[in-house]
Structures are given as C-alpha cells and as structure tokens.
C-alpha cells in the first residue's frame, strides 16, 4: 500500500491556521469534506469522534508527529490527510514535545484489517528520520506531496 493510495493530496494543509489540537482536527476534517472525501454533514460528528479518541490516549507518538484517527460508520474507505504547523501543536505527546506534522486518518468500522494496513503504511514512513525532516521543512502542499511521493518510491 502506498501513501498516495490513502492520502487525499488536494486536502493537504501546509500551514495549519490553528495550533490548537481540536481546531487542527476540525480543520483537517473540513478540508477532506471540501474535497468530497467524506459524507457531507459528517464534519462535526467525525471531529467529535476523533477528539474523543484522542482524549482517551494521545496519538502524539513523539518526534513531532501525531496520527489522530478514528473508525466511523459514515466512512466507506480509509482516507487520510496531512497538515503541517510551523509553530507546533500541543498534542499531549508521549515525549511532551510539540507536533509539527499531523496525519489524520478516518477508517470504516467494517474493515479493521484494512485500518491496520493503512496504519502500517503511515508508521513505516514516519519511522524514517528523513521523511519526518522533509515534512517538517515543507512550507507548501507541493513540497509535502513531493515528500509523500518520494517516500512511496523508496518503499518500492
């Protein structure tokens, strides 16, 4: 599986307008909605679900990245979006450091195995220091897309 298969490039936000966790989650979900990647009218319920999942246990796994996600009945196929913040976002990360790159993932409730495969694809890449650095340096959507495409090629 490739990042390009799951990440909606058109919804990528290179400079998130907020540095507050919940606002960032809403902003990214709204962006997916603007690209018609999620059912109209579900923005609020999806944001609420992701935030409540995040409150149970932070997906800020350290090294400046967070992967907020939820399985939701309104979602038919896993879809993800990337958002970057130059300022850094407080995600209550495990290492207590701010988050600069957010991978938000929405998965269907009906296919837990697919969700795991998508998570594997995302984490396989987030493991790479180069990939994290390119993402953090990226100031435009084009630069982020390039980093994602390069990562996909490396994985081949």
């Amino acid at each position: 599986m490739k990042l390009a298969d799951i990440i909606c490039f058109d919804a990528i936000i290179a400079q998130l307008s907020s540095n507050k966790r919940d606002k960032v989650i809403e902003e990214l979900i709204q962006s997916l909605s603007d690209q018609n990647k999620i059912p109209a009218g579900e923005v609020k319920s999806l944001a609420k679900a992701v935030i409540s999942r995040e409150n149970e246990a932070s997906t800020g796994i350290g090294k400046g990245v967070a992967v907020p996600h939820v399985k939701h009945a309104s979602i038919a196929e896993p879809v993800a979006v990337v958002g970057c913040s130059q300022e850094g976002i407080d995600f209550s990360s495990l290492d207590k450091q701010p988050v600069y790159s957010v991978f938000l993932l929405l998965s269907p409730t009906s296919d837990p195995d697919k969700h795991l495969q998508v998570m594997e694809t995302i984490f396989k890449n987030l493991q790479k220091e180069d990939f994290r650095r390119f993402l953090r340096q990226a100031q435009t959507s084009e630069a982020i897309i390039e980093a994602l495409k390069d990562a996909d090629e490396d994985g081949q």
Partner: protein, 102 residues
C-alpha cells in the same frame, strides 16, 4: 541477577487486531521491564518498547507473534505480555462481552 532469554508465542485475539491503543498498552508493559524485548510478525522483527515500531506490525486478529525477551526479568516479561494479549488487552471497548443471557 543473571541474564536469560525467554521466548513465547502469542496470538492476537482482538477482532480489531493490534491497533494503536492495545499496541500502546503492550509498549507500556514491555517498557516496565529491564529486558530487551523483540516482537516478530512474519518477517518483521521490532522493538517492543517502540510504539512506532509496534504499530508497523499490522497484526490483525489471529496473527501469531513471537516475543523474545533477553535480560534479568525476561521470564516475567514474556509471561506478563502473554497475559495481556490473552486477556484481549482488558479494557478494549470492542471486546466488552455483552451480557445478553445474563
């Protein structure tokens, strides 16, 4: 205390597999031991104390993993980790048994 190596096979029983929350519980428990702990799934071997690496395993329901602990508390570590997995990570809401029949 002497170094020892202990190995155990575990099977993921949660319907949703080893997703992030149970993976974190696993990492937390593994990290509470001094031993080095490695988890192997198919051809991938990873550090049980790294959440990034644990999430990369993509261990679905029914996946069989090998856990190897090396260190002073290796025996206790594999025992505790197996217990966590066998109990389906306890509080995973997906696995709360409904009490239909009382």
């Amino acid at each position: 205390m002497s170094e020892s190596t202990h190995e155990i096979e575990i099977e993921i029983l949660n319907p949703d597999g080893l997703h992030m929350r149970p993976a974190m519980q696993f990492v937390d428990l593994a990290s509470s031991f001094n031993s080095d702990i490695t988890v192997t799934h198919q051809e991938m071997s990873i550090d049980a104390k790294s959440i990034m690496q644990m999430t990369m395993l993509a261990a679905t329901c029914g996946a069989r993993l090998k856990v190897v602990a090396i260190g002073p508390d290796a025996a206790d570590a594999v025992k505790a980790l197996k217990e966590l997995v066998d109990n389906k990570f306890g509080d995973d809401p997906e696995n709360v048994v409904s009490k239909k029949e009382g």
